[in-house]
């Protein structure tokens, strides 16, 4: 079955530490990949996306993500976390379906807490 997995429900890091949020997908072809961030009480904001080309993509707020086809992964990274990065992060994947509609499938999210 086509799915998106974010293995970590909650992550806590210290301010200034590095961060990696994991995302794995199950899909037979090359997907379109996204990371969104949601601050409390807010909508979702796009951090970055991968459609094709260089497998290391840069996003806003100092985030980057790397597409690894062999591992079916699209992990999000940041070298130094700021307190304002505390939020919930969603990985999302467009996977083609037999009906022709390419639907955006979300992972369950990873909630990031940042200690001062």
């Amino acid at each position: 079955a086509q799915s998106v997995t974010q293995p970590d429900i909650h992550i806590t890091v210290s301010e200034g530490a590095s961060l990696e949020l994991r995302c794995n997908y199950s899909y037979g072809a090359t997907p379109y990949l996204f990371w969104y961030v949601q601050s409390p009480g807010q909508g979702l904001q796009l951090l970055l996306k991968y459609f094709s080309g260089d497998t290391l993509v840069q996003g806003i707020k100092g985030f980057e993500a790397e597409f690894k086809r062999s591992q079916s992964s699209f992990n999000l990274r940041k070298p130094s976390v700021h307190w304002s990065d505390a939020a919930e992060y969603f990985c999302a994947v467009v996977m083609g379906f037999s009906g022709g509609y390419n639907k955006l499938i979300f992972g369950a999210g990873t909630r990031l807490a940042v200690h001062p």
Binding site: I9, Y32, Y36, G41, L46, A92, N102, K103, L104, F106
Partner: protein
């Protein structure tokens, strides 16, 4: 930020009553979507629209209907609200089918 507004932003209603949520965009994007967000599930697609009067079901469409009579407006109706429809509802828009989706601020719905 994409020009997307949702109304109301918060609503409390009783089981069995009809509820309509509105999504309004100023971007003239072709595609519009309704999602619901529940803990542990991320966002799940309820219905989407690929043009005026053109709509289709998503993965959790039971109990919901939609209408799109103008490019800028996409309405989500709960015909007879149930407690299981207590959720946060997000509208999204995109210019093309596989292009980036931009999200509205959400509507928090509580069904008592």
């Amino acid at each position: 930020d994409a020009g997307i507004t949702q109304s109301p932003r918060h609503k409390v209603t009783e089981t069995g009553t009809p509820v309509t949520l509105r999504c309004h965009q100023t971007e003239n994007h072709r595609y519009m979507y309704w999602y619901r967000q529940d803990p542990g599930h991320g966002l799940r697609l309820i219905h989407y629209s690929y043009g005026v009067k053109d709509t289709d079901k998503g993965e959790v469409s039971d109990g919901y209907s939609v209408s799109r009579s103008k490019t800028e407006d996409f309405l989500l109706t709960l015909e007879s609200a149930t407690s299981s429809q207590t959720s946060v509802y997000f509208c999204a828009i995109s210019d093309q089918d596989i292009e980036t989706q931009y999200f509205g601020p959400g509507t928090r719905l509580l069904v008592l």
